[in-house]
Symmetry: C2
Subunit: 156 residues, 2 copies
Amino acid sequence: MNDKEIYMQKAIDLSLESVKNGGGPFGAVIVKDGDVIAASSNSVTSDNDPTAHAEVNAIRLATQKLGTFDLTGCEIYSSCEPCPMCLGAIYWAHIDKLYFANTKADAKKIGFDDSFIYEEIATPYELRKVKTSQMMRESAIKAFESWQNKEDKIEY
Amino acid sequence: MNDKEIYMQKAIDLSLESVKNGGGPFGAVIVKDGDVIAASSNSVTSDNDPTAHAEVNAIRLATQKLGTFDLTGCEIYSSCEPCPMCLGAIYWAHIDKLYFANTKADAKKIGFDDSFIYEEIATPYELRKVKTSQMMRESAIKAFESWQNKEDKIEY
């Protein structure tokens, strides 16, 4: 196996172990400069945390380890194509490259909502299954103005 | 103010306080049966966690408080239209209703990537800015088969 295959196999091994341990069938590994800096499986049910997907867990571990919210220069290997939550997290973390194995269609076949959430995100909010309404923008915009005017803000 | 306005004002107050404390201008509140069960602002820079958006933080707090990964019966009030990561988290948590104040266009105007990430999600993965490749599905699919065959799995 080449290096990329070794990293992906580690993500896959985590996904297999996770099923054995009662968790979801997903694993992810983050690599920087050839070193694995974080690896995790899905822990939604064991942690009672719906955000604890393998990719989000690995990103949290990597940022804690490096002491920064910015993972520029890192690659992520995920045993499955990331859902919109995890893809968003990958962008916010500024990860450079993403490798995945199973697809969102594969995930749909075994009962995971990834494809449904992709469809919902592409739907205007007024028509989504989660009933969504806008209110009080005139009050909330003050925080954005305050941010814009702040000279020492930390951008991310 | 009616109840909904009181909850949203709390989310907005959190967003204003967050800017004062050096964080991003975002707040979120989760309500169940008329009680505020979780409230948080964005803590990306203070926690070194790119996933620590106000909505994700509030969802984690609510699920820890209730001891379940399922927030069916809850509403979320966010001072800004959720980014794809947070919207995904709202769906995975099975929250029933979403209220927001500022829009993703407002967020774009003050330098946040929400709109860009929405565009990227709608783009085929081969064409996204984060270079994305598929590999080793034939190995990874074994974890999905193992999940499908597991009789005592906890679905989420």
